[in-house]
């Protein structure tokens, strides 16, 4: 199989990740942060090492501000439901995923808060201005994707964060598609919250994610339960990470994720990004030769794009294109990609698009086979 659905989850994972997960199951299969016996402490130490590495990788302020979650969706929900108070207003971009839209819509339906969608502009200035215009006296939070999971569009998130802070508004970066591909530096960029998927471009196992906190905000809890700390108290601890990590941790997942991030640190994410962008730019140029294919986005400017490309084929439904490619052993994703807002903005809601997302393990041969298969479409 030629796998080009890495925006959904990367596959394969690096061998070190499989090994780390297996080793975690065998050697560290003990509840961390609970027992005082040697093996439980050894598991706790491994989790702590993972936390330390995430702190370094993202330049977070403290190990305690690295929260392990089940994925980016849980991280985003934790921020939205932990930060907002009744009457608050949120601004999101027109490229957001359902993991952002749906929790906000639920709060909106309950009459708890409201949100506005700021359109992506033709340039960064216009995008910034659209966000600025949407601010009102109740605006408490901006949530913005770093890069669209459908079109690869990059947003001016550092400027948006600065804009938010200039109005006393919090900023949450949805880094589902960018963590591991684009530099994220909490210290330099000042994001209040960063939500990451562990199983995408950080190359960890599915069921892993990270919420990074700047550390100044006491979030309300999304779920409550045992933490191994202050057990006599019926309230959740007031300190991180325990406050947001109720229940037994996913030790195999976290140690696998740690192995993935270690590999990224060794290779360097700039090198990974450049490799994937080379493949996507090459595909973008070649697809422009096809009369029937329309590619969305401009991949000529690296500062405005991430290596995710969407296209449609005139006269053939996107689902059908993906089906034909699947029969030829090529895995791509069609439809709305859980981002109807982004499709609405780009005018592709009707039939969706076909999305191509390489990983570090994708080769030029893979892309050539895709292009040749597209030439043979009925």
């Amino acid at each position: 199989m030629i796998y080009l659905d890495n925006s959904a989850t990367t596959y394969p994972k690096p061998p070190a990740v499989y090994q780390a997960v297996g080793r975690a199951m065998r050697d560290f299969g003990f509840n961390p942060g609970r027992g005082g016996y040697e093996r439980s402490l050894a598991a706790s130490k491994k989790i702590y090492e993972a936390r330390t590495q995430m702190k370094k990788f993202f330049h977070a302020s403290d190990e305690a501000s690295v929260i392990f979650t089940s994925g980016c969706t849980q991280a985003v929900n934790t921020v939205i439901k932990g930060v907002l108070h009744r009457g608050d207003h949120v601004i999101i971009s027109s490229m957001e995923h359902n993991s952002v839209v749906r929790p906000l819509q639920k709060l909106y339906n309950a009459g708890y808060c409201s949100y506005s969608v700021a359109d992506i502009g033709a340039d960064d200035d216009e995008t910034i201005e659209n966000f600025r215009r949407a601010i009102n006296r109740n605006t408490r939070l901006f949530i913005c994707t770093h890069a669209s999971n459908v079109f690869g569009t990059r947003l001016p998130v550092e400027r948006l964060c600065a804009l938010a802070h200039s109005y006393g508004i919090l900023f949450c970066l949805d880094a589902a598609q960018s963590a591991g591909l684009l530099h994220i530096d909490l210290e330099r960029d000042g994001y209040d919250f960063v939500c990451c998927a562990g199983h995408k471009y950080l190359y960890g196992p599915m069921g892993t994610g990270i919420l990074l906190l700047k550390g100044e905000h006491m979030l309300d809890t999304l779920i409550e339960g045992g933490t191994g700390s202050e057990s006599a108290d019926p309230d959740m601890p007031s300190y991180y990470p325990d406050r947001l990590e109720a229940g037994t941790q996913n030790v195999p997942g976290i140690l696998g994720l740690n192995a993935g991030v270690q590999l990224l640190s060794n290779i360097g994410i700039e090198k990974i990004y450049q490799k994937e962008m080379r493949l996507i730019r090459g595909l973008w140029r070649r697809l422009q030769e096809f009369d029937r294919i329309k590619v969305y986005g401009d991949f000529g400017d690296d500062s405005r794009s991430a290596p995710v490309l969407s296209f449609t084929v005139s006269g053939i439904d996107s689902e059908e294109v993906a089906h034909v490619l699947s029969k030829r052993g090529i895995a791509v994703r069609s439809g709305l990609h859980c981002a109807p807002l982004a499709h609405r903005f780009m005018g592709t809601s009707e039939g969706g698009t076909v999305r191509v997302a390489p990983s570090y393990f994708t080769t030029e041969t893979d892309i050539n086979i895709l292009v040749n298969s597209l030439r043979k479409l009925p």
Binding site: G36, S44, E63, S229, D233, P237, P241
Partner: protein, 75 residues
Amino acid sequence: MNQQLILLPSVTYAMKAKNILDQHQIRAYIQRTPKNVSVRSCGYCLFVPEHTNEAETLLRKKGVRVLGRAERERL
């Protein structure tokens, strides 16, 4: 009173505290907090057999939340 246990809020802080002390060549061991310690703790603390006062000061200076001290004999 020889209070050689440094009480910490969670296992994450216990790990962090041990790392800091290791870097300063102060021996420290993570263990469960004694049940009868009056401070509401996590279940984890550091046993620091020597230079405990210095260790506590160091941890506080490094921003580690220290809940208090206890005697090891009470285990």
